[in-house]
Symmetry: C2
Subunit: 526 residues, 2 copies
């Protein structure tokens, strides 16, 4: 078993040391008991050191060979896998998530790192383009221009509470930034500090074994917001990866935009992920869809960015059957602990807001629970009320959803037109509904980053084609994905080399192609 232990220390420059700026402690959300471990908060000076070391490491790290960088990512994956039960148990204790889910998430985290190792080895992220010289061109000769992508610079990463492994210290943002050649400074999420430290130490160990500059990775604890904010404002930081609330993401965007040198913030923030049930599907299998929907809604205590928080359909017998099916499944749902008491109380507040809304009625509830245990809930309103009160489309993080019943299909379309940007949209259709679906798709494509037929957005497949993104406020920049191999593009920028002698060319753009890269020659893929 791994020798890595939780010590409550920040990880900076290859060392670990106790922070003296306040303390992060954490409760077990299942039992309420205080977990062992006190995590000393980083000071501004700690941050300064971590950021400057990252800037220093950048020069070397961004030019590591593809082979070496891929090996590094694989070693991180291996070190995390070797943490085994030590990590799984700490993560269960800190998150309240069930073992199977945490084990699955750990496997996904390991897979994600391996995927990026493959992306690095394959090398096409370097985006090589070569327009050879044309010395005889008239009226002027054409110079030789060759382009490759280089890493953007040190990246600040803010993990999510709801994926303490796959979207945290060694999660999607860290994996894609390290793959691109960017050092990473992580602000540890205060909901899972022990998990963060274990994973952070697994990365730090890989940095050391691969003999990389120690500034390639740092992990900082912050009992409040000040260190995270200073990190985004720090001159050495070139980009930010964030997954969390809209308020949190927007706060970081403001800091990044107000810098002397503004930097991009890739924030994944807020979505209600509408589920649209088309007339024929609703008429023929409303109850079945309702049961599947309630399962998706309560999966992981509804704590997914892609949770189906909104259902849109036309009022009628089919919708009644959908509601019956959903209610049936929902009422058998046991309460389960939410990630933190803060998340739980925000959930209760959101549910109470719906409960007391005069145009909204409660359809079904799960069993009640104690402490930070969430009671699932399903509400219903009319399209008219929904269109009138924009507050009804705000995300409530947790196992609650709002069914919007429209008078007719035209009203369904008006509801969809009124929505803000989303991560996902699910369409439940039968072949008879295809014409209607085709007619809507044009709008839905501009609404969300991922469209799903006869399924739900929950369950993000880590791969090459996945898009985990979407128009504002689903993310701060819909032109990217935060999950899957596309994510590496966020942390790269192109550099052109004009009339460079081969002695000064980086390997990626050399004619004899020592890295065996695919490239574009005069615009054509070779």
């Amino acid at each position: 078993m791994s020798s890595i232990e939780v010590k409550g220390e920040n990880l900076i420059g290859g060392f670990s040391r106790r922070g003296l700026n306040g303390v992060v402690r954490v409760n077990n959300p299942s039992s309420g008991e205080l977990l062992p471990g006190e995590f000393g908060g980083a000071s501004e000076q700690d941050l300064e050191e971590a950021a400057n070391l990252a800037a220093e490491a950048f020069t070397t790290y961004r030019e590591t060979s593809l082979e070496r960088r891929a090996k590094f990512l694989k070693l991180i994956a291996q070190n995390i896998a070797e943490l085994d039960d030590k990590l799984i148990e700490r993560c269960i204790a800190e998150s309240g998530l069930p073992r199977a889910r945490v084990e699955g998430e750990c496997a996904r985290t390991v897979y994600q790192l391996q995927l990026f190792a493959d992306v690095v080895s394959e090398g096409s992220f370097l985006g090589v383009r070569i327009d050879p010289s044309m010395p005889d061109r008239k009226p002027l000769p054409r110079p030789d221009i060759r382009t490759r992508n280089i890493a953007l610079g040190p990246v600040a990463v803010f993990g999510a509470s709801n994926f303490p492994l796959a979207v945290s210290v060694a999660g999607n943002d860290t994996a894609s930034a390290l793959a691109a050649g960017c050092p990473v400074v992580v602000k540890a999420h205060s909901a899972h500090p022990g998990t963060s430290e274990l994973v952070g130490r697994a990365i730090q160990k890989a940095v050391e074994v691969c003999d990389l500059p120690p500034g390639v990775f740092a992990l900082l604890f912050d009992p409040g917001y000040a260190i995270g904010q200073s990190l985004v404002a720090h001159e050495a930081i070139a980009a930010v990866g964030f997954t969390g609330s809209r308020a949190g993401g927007e706060a970081l965007m403001k800091i990044a935009a107000a810098r002397k040198r503004p930097i991009p913030v890739f924030a994944e923030m807020s979505a209600v992920n509408p589920v649209i049930i088309f007339p024929n599907a609703l008429a023929t299998r409303g109850a079945t869809i309702g049961r599947a929907f309630a399962s998706a809604l309560t999966l992981g205590v509804g704590q997914f960015c892609t949770n189906p928080g909104l259902v849109v359909a036309v009022e009628g017998k089919g919708l009644s059957e959908f509601l019956s099916g959903a209610s049936e499944t929902l009422s058998t749902t046991s309460p389960a602990p939410m990630l933190t008491s803060g998340i739980h109380s925000a959930y209760c507040k959101g549910v109470d807001r719906l409960r007391s809304h005069q145009a909204v009625r409660l359809v079904a509830e799960g069993a009640a629970g104690n402490g930070a245990f969430a009671r699932a809930a399903l509400f219903k309103t009319t399209a008219e009320a929904f269109l009138f009160d924009r507050g009804l489309q705000d995300e409530i993080f947790g196992p609650v959803s709002l069914v919007v019943a429209a008078k007719d299909w035209a009203e369904v379309k008006r509801v969809l037109q009124s929505l803000e940007g989303q991560l996902t949209t699910a369409l439940h259709v039968d072949p008879v509904d295809y014409d209607r679906a085709r007619d809507l798709l044009s709008h839905l494509e501009t609404l969300a980053g991922r469209l799903i037929i006869n399924g739900f957005g929950t369950g993000v497949e880590v791969g090459h084609a996945i898009v985990h993104g979407g128009p504002y406020p689903a993310t701060s920049d819909g032109r990217t994905s935060s999950i899957g191999s596309l994510a590496i593009e966020r942390f790269l920028r192109p550099v052109a080399y004009q009339d460079f002698p081969v002695e000064l060319q980086p390997q990626a753009i050399q004619n004899d192609n020592p890295l065996k890269l695919k490239s574009r020659q005069n615009g054509f893929l070779s």
Copy 2:
């Protein structure tokens, strides 16, 4: 000859009509005479109409077939070419640029549109990725996920004064946005309103002939800043392309960031494009480099974003020879008119600032001129003074450059370390200098978007490998290029389709590949 004429009208929704919100008029910068034509400024209502029509057109236009969109871009190119002398002469009169330059720029504008027509036809900008389903995967089956890029939405374009054709109404931003499938609303530059209208009408005619929705293109005149600012703030606008001053770009960035739904601004703003002369090159051919430098500096009256406004080298005999060579060429440079009297007075102010700086001395000047004619100038300072006063690295737009003499090579490096982001950096080297160059390249890659060996940044080659971009403040976002085929990526976003039946799939992602596109299958290029 083309039937298109200057009428002083805004172009909105397939119609042209006189704006009633103030008037734009323009002088011939060569003669000072007022040119014919009064261009009525657009009102907020005109803007509202143009933006809403663009949003309406977006739905149809973004799904035009690749063939039809390529044909549209080629027709714009043809319509511009057919404007012929009518356009060339108006452009010469409005810009003061010599005929050969304007003809060359017109050819570049036409070529640029054709290049993007080719990019559209080739289709790989659609970025198709397919991860097929794996129904037997354990523990869960893998869904079928297919991704393509779609257009971002209507784009606001602000052209540059210094390229009234190639970086204006039908310039790089417009060509790449239209290629991506985005409607365009152009705020006409007030320095060349007649040129803008002629080109705008050429686009409008192509929209009509291709039977595209009229909202695909609009052109608005604005005697002040209000309409341009409202355009960036308008809900229908999804991105902004801008080339101009740092103050202008930063003002638009602030508006875009403060929107309810922030949007990306691709602003190309400010650079001094350092020229580094390495010791051996300086010792063996200082005078020759000096002469070539002075020619590059005064080309187009120094009115290029890539103008070499800074030279860095070690003090000594070689640098004296460089200065002699440069002075010799500079002193034979005739004064030439700048684009506008405003640009000329800003230039004079900048030159006076250097002239009266106690640590800066004048090395050489071109012949003096009248009116808006610029007198080229070369100044010299020490590395010590340059490092002390950061104001010395601010761009002065026009034919002026500052030579920074360092005590030794270490000081050259300190000067380069102190610089802000740049569009280009030129290295003058002989093979003996290669080790020194190699040592510096790592920093220079993070400093600029394009590096040039033994040449100068002036002259941007429109192609596939070109990068016209660079770290802040050269541009607002160094991850992109505003010129060349890479520019299309600014206006696209990926959408994933999960478990879509073929009947609902867009053609780009269908298995039988009717568009004959290259794609990534499980990450591998097919």
